[in-house]
């Protein structure tokens, strides 16, 4: 049996770890609340944008637009949104797994990394990192999304890349987050989603092609922005869960060790008593 001193030392070290995980849990709970509110505020814009673009494309099936067909290049741009900090359970590794298991060959992928963790892991595995926007994830604003979008679209127009994907964690609710890989360009229309009112004839000003020219970059930007905001919420949610689990594990270990410590203490007292009694009876 381990000595009393060893058990005591072990227990106090776990106790201080528990204090840290508890504090981290509290911090991420607060951050989660904020991020969640933001995600909820952004959602209507996101949804309207999606609806509008989908209904637009449904009504204009005949338009030939560069954004609607794949570029000639085999290269795929993947915008990977992870966090800058670890200790968030499987949050970052799930996203990395999503990219590595996506079936894209390593040579064809150009990674636009948002978040250090994803960037480092993918870089180590030999992926090409085209750009790194890791600073953005701390406090995403719409302008950041617009800047990244402009860069990626430029590469698409120059023919450097043929397809654009987005890998991020979808924030379903506080406890459920879903790593998602989404194809952004070329836009594919889901035939089944055709709405009932899609037979209303829509007019475009100045004309449909110019309107698409303007609206699609905005659509992509809003998707980026929405994904960023959701990713921040998911990150904090994941960290909160991870730290909650760590805290309760520490709790279990501490109670286990306390039991062992008390047994060891009791054992040593009993032993001492036996020795004294044995000594006394030997003298008399």
């Amino acid at each position: 049996m381990a000595s009393m001193r060893d058990i005591k030392r072990r227990r106090s070290s776990i106790q201080s770890t528990q204090q840290i995980t508890k504090a981290m849990k509290l911090v991420s709970t607060v951050k989660l609340q904020k991020a969640k509110n933001r995600a909820e505020e952004t959602n209507p814009y996101f949804n309207y944008m999606y609806q509008t673009v989908v209904s637009m494309l449904q009504r204009s099936g005949t338009i030939m637009h560069p954004y609607l067909k794949a570029g000639e290049s085999q290269k795929k741009a993947v915008v990977v949104i992870t966090s800058n900090r670890g200790l968030a359970g499987g949050y970052n590794s799930n996203i990395v797994k999503l990219v590595t298991d996506s079936g894209f060959s390593k040579e064809d992928v150009r990674v636009y990394a948002i978040g250090n963790k994803g960037k480092e892991t993918l870089e180590r595995r030999g992926y090409e990192i085209a750009e790194d926007y890791s600073g953005v994830i701390e406090a995403p604003v719409y302008e950041d999304a617009a800047a990244i979008c402009a860069k990626v679209l430029q590469a698409f127009q120059d023919g450097e890349i043929g397809e654009i994907y987005l890998a991020y964690t979808h924030f379903k609710n506080t406890v459920s987050h879903e790593p998602t890989l989404m194809k952004l360009l070329p836009i594919e229309i889901d035939e089944e989603e055709v709405k009932e009112d899609s037979n209303i004839l829509m007019n475009y000003e100045p004309n449909d092609e110019e309107a698409l020219d303007m609206i699609i970059p905005k659509y992509i930007t809003s998707l980026f922005y929405g994904a960023l905001v959701e990713a921040v919420a998911s990150e904090n949610g994941a960290r909160m869960q991870a730290m909650d689990a760590a805290t309760s594990n520490a709790e279990d270990m501490i109670s286990d060790l306390s039991l062992k410590y008390n047994r060891a203490r009791q054992g040593s007292i009993t032993q001492e008593l036996t020795e004294i009694i044995a000594g006394a009876s030997a003298i008399s």
């Binding site: 814009y45 509008t52 309107a211 609206i215 922005y225």
Partner: protein, 137 residues
């Protein structure tokens, strides 16, 4: 005076919030091909917004806001403005807008080699819109 026959839904949504939602008799806004006013039962129209004032004519008065960039979807019973930036006239800081205007003009004047013309012009138009909207109030 509120005539229900004439009223329609107006929504203005920005990335950060639902900026406005309510009923209006008429809405005026600026598109890339000029200013338009929309009444109920307008033909379906999707159009690109240019920096400019949005005037919402409600049953009991007008509301003025500045909107920069975005697009509008007009349906017979509903108008939705998806704007990247929108602000009420009361929220606009004129001194900041004046400063931005001066800065943009200076950049356009100087014609530096690395000048991003589109960006500078957009900044200038944004500043001018803000000042205009403030004056309207």
């Amino acid at each position: 005076m509120a005539d229900n026959e004439k009223m329609f839904q107006v929504k203005i949504i920005t990335p950060d919030r639902i900026f406005y939602t309510g009923e209006a008799e008429m809405i005026e806004f600026t598109t890339s091909s000029g200013q338009i006013g929309v009444y109920k039962k307008h033909i379906p129209l999707t159009t690109v917004l240019a920096p400019g004032a949005v005037i919402i004519h409600e049953a009991d008065g007008e509301k003025v806001a500045a909107v920069h960039a975005g697009f509008a979807e007009v349906l017979p019973e509903q108008v939705t403005l998806l704007a990247e930036i929108a602000e009420w006239a009361e929220e606009i800081d004129v001194s900041r807008a004046e400063a931005a205007k001066a800065r943009a003009e200076e950049r356009l004047q100087a014609k530096a080699a690395d000048l991003d013309l589109a960006r500078a012009e957009f900044a200038l138009r944004k500043a001018l819109t803000r000042i205009d909207v403030k004056d309207m109030k």
